[in-house]
Every structure is written in structure tokens, then in C-alpha cells.
């Protein structure tokens, strides 16, 4: 099932200005992989070299931070939506 992914304003220049894109994936790490296939510019802004999420970037499934779910293995399915959200400046590390 395609999952909607909300793109934060500063990163929309990599998605042709789209605020929301759709990818087919069953868990967050695949969502990211699909996203980077379509929009390669996003990768270095979201992930470190070791595939951990970069500082000050949070990912939500519906309105829940994936760090409190299953991290990058958090499953996504029918009716779920994913949001990439820059952490409020200050305090994310």
C-alpha cells in the first residue's frame, strides 16, 4: 500500500517542492530507501554514514516518534502516514 510521507519545508527543494510524496513500503527503513531512490538529494540530509538518523531529524508514524516505537524497523501499513520533522532547534541531542 502506498504510504504518504510528509516532507518538511527545508527539504522540499529535493522533492520538486512537493510537501507530500507517496512510497510503497512496509517499514520505515524501506520507506527511506524508496524515498532516496526517487529523491537522492534527501539521503545526506536524513541519514548519517552509518544509517542512523541525523541529529535534529525526527520521524513520526501518525503522531508517534519512531524512537518510542521500533525505530527504523517500525512497521507502516494501511492508513498510516509518515512525517519527517526537523526537531525544534535546541535539545534534540
Amino acid at each position: 500500500m502506498p504510504v504518504p510521507v510528509r516532507i518538511p519545508t527545508p527539504l522540499r527543494r529535493f522533492t520538486g517542492d512537493r510537501a507530500e510524496v507517496s512510497v510503497e513500503a512496509a517499514e520505515i527503513s524501506s520507506v527511506l530507501d524508496r524515498l532516496f531512490e526517487e529523491y537522492p538529494g534527501l539521503r545526506s540530509h536524513l541519514l548519517n554514514e552509518d544509517r542512523t538518523l541525523r541529529a535534529f531529524v525526527n520521524i513520526y508514524v501518525n503522531d508517534e516518534d519512531i524512537r518510542f516505537l521500533d525505530g527504523l524497523k517500525t512497521p507502516v501499513g494501511d492508513g498510516d502516514s509518515v512525517s519527517i520533522v526537523p526537531a525544534i532547534a535546541g535539545g534534540a541531542r
Binding site: R67, F68, G91, A92, R93
Partner: protein, 398 residues
Amino acid sequence: MTSQPRGPGTRAARGGEGRKKALDAVTQPIVCTATYAFDSTAEIRDHFEGRIQREEYGRYGNPTVRTAERKIAELDGAEDCVLFSSGMAAATTALLALLKSGQHIVMTSDCYRRTRQFVSTMLPRWGIEHTFVEPGDNKALEAAIRPGKTRLILAESPTNPYLRVADLPRLVAIRNRHPGVKILIDSTFATPVNQRPLEFGVDLVLHSATKYLGGHNDLLAGSLSGKASLISGLRDLRGILGGVLDPHAAYLLLRGVKTLDLRVRRQNETALRLASWLEVHPRVERVFYPGLPSHPDHEAAARQMSGFGGVVSFLVKGDLDAASRFIDATTLPIIAPSLGGVESLIEQPALMSFYELTTEERRAIGIFDNLVRLAVGIEDAGDLIADLGNAFAVSEIP
């Protein structure tokens, strides 16, 4: 630290700290600062782009606190640890992070009264439901799980005050059958020396560091340990809720934790000796200590703990007043709430923690009026036995 895991004595004395410290000191400095300076605006950008690692503001981090966090992480066998101003700050922050409106928590009923109060009177204000189950009743625990709604199983192990021990492998097996559920174990009474729940697959470990970790009855603090990403989320919420640990307290905690292994091993030995002595004392009705074969969880404890801890609870023959007279006749333990420090502490839960209830109301929640809780310190076992023996003798009604 990817090398062979070190023993608890080494982790306590040296864990989380490199050999070289600031200014060639052997110890960590106490960094008293509310905020942190940047050299330039370029450094601010580097910080928010994640190109450098540094502190930013006192509520988000402190180097002295960070060192104590790394030490406790190593003791717990965790990827990371986050410290709070108290065990309750840690507990409430974890619960607020992990539960939202419409979700559900299952917890065992023999537990610290204030945690119970938060779950039963505060969380419902935000539409978070709960079920309490008897410790040891794993069938009831699993039956209480609501698919899609239950997010957390919370248990102390050992519990307060009856020292019930949660069967950790069994709890983890239950968790694995129910996606979306996490397990938080309050391992305060055990300490990382005796029990490391994360090794069994538990998600989060909580300590009231006020107790054994600090070890000297001179600070309040709380810790949560677990996977790095989960701790990172909790650290963020700490930065919003504000339950941060003062660097002075963090230094005392660092200092106290260094002797954790030594202290706990001594307390384990003394408590077992005392529990055995109490069990055959004519003035004692019953003793609760996981190290005694008479304890309902003795086998589970023997399987998953390397020592049974320093708290011994027992029923003095008689009523509320009989137990009070006994306590008043002791001279060595200090009459005070809390546990885990180098000074032995003694209390009567009916008076100290359930004062406003009647005898019947206390009995209904499992608290007996004649219950005494002794938190063994590092005094010589012989001296403690002599003092308690004398207290029994002089408090006997002729």
C-alpha cells in the same frame, strides 16, 4: 566500548570514564554551568547540522551528568542511559513518553505507592488506562494485554515491600507475542550488580539512583537505560519536562557508584544472614527475602539474580504497636524511608507509607500493620544481629 564486557566491579569503578580527564585530574570535574558558549555563529550552524557534538544548554545536557550516565549505562549493559532529578522524574517521563490517550499499561500491583498513584490517578486524566495484576500471575498479566492498545508492561523486580521477583524471560516471551508492547523494569532493589534485565531482552531499566547507585543517602536521582534511540527520545522529553540532574548531585552519584559492587556484595551477604536469623527468631512471624527458599520467587530469583539484595521485610509477631515498639528499641538502623545506602534504615510501611489508611484498608491492599522493612547497610552483620536481638528482647510485653 566493543571489547569484552568487564566485570561489575570494574564497570563501577572505571566504566563510562576514559583514562584521561580534563586538566590531568584523575576525577571528573563538576561542571557548574547553566549554558554553554559558542565560539562563533559558524559553530552554532555546525552544531545544528550535527557536524560537531557539544552541549548547548543546561536543560539538554551536562558533562558531569553525561559521565555518570555512561557509567550507569555500562553497569546496566545498555547502549545509553539518561539521568533525572529523581526516580519519580525518570518514571513519569518514561510513562509520558511511551503512553498516549487511548493506550493502556499493565503493571504489577506490589510497587512503590507513588508510581501506582501516578498511573491510577494522573494518567487517566489523559485517557490512558491501566490494569494492575498480582506479581507472579503471568497468566493474568498476558490476559490483561489489549491488542493494539497496550503499550507497556511495568514491573518492579524485586518489588516493594515483599520482594517479589518478576520472571524476566517469561515476561519477554509474553512481550514477543504482542507487537507494540514494551517492558520497563524498575530494578532499583536488585541493582545492576545482582540483575541486568536488558540482558533478557527487556526494553528499559529504571533505577532510583537515590538508593543503591548513589549509595550514601546523600542525593536524589533517577536513571533509565536502554537502546540508544529510545534513550535519545527520552532525553529529548527530559529537555522539555525539565527533570534534569544537578551536576553536584551527578558528581556524588559518580563517586558513590564507584563502590557499588563492593557495597552490594556486602549488603547481599548481610541481608541473607539476617534473613536466615530472623526466620527462626521466636518473635518473627514471617520473613520475605528472595534468598530464602521459603520465598515464593526463590527459584526465579536464583535463576536470574546473582545476589538477592539488601532489603529484608518481616512480620513481627503482634500488631501495629508490637512492630512499632520493636523498631523504637533498635539503636543501630536509622528510622527513615529509603534504602540502599551505607547506613542501615528501618521502617514500618503501615506508618511510613500508608498512614492515612485503616488497618483493614491496608490489609486489603496487602500491607500488614506488623510489617517491618529493613534496608541493610554496610555495618557488620554481627552488630546488626546483636542490635535487632536486643530490640526484640527489650520490646517484648512481659
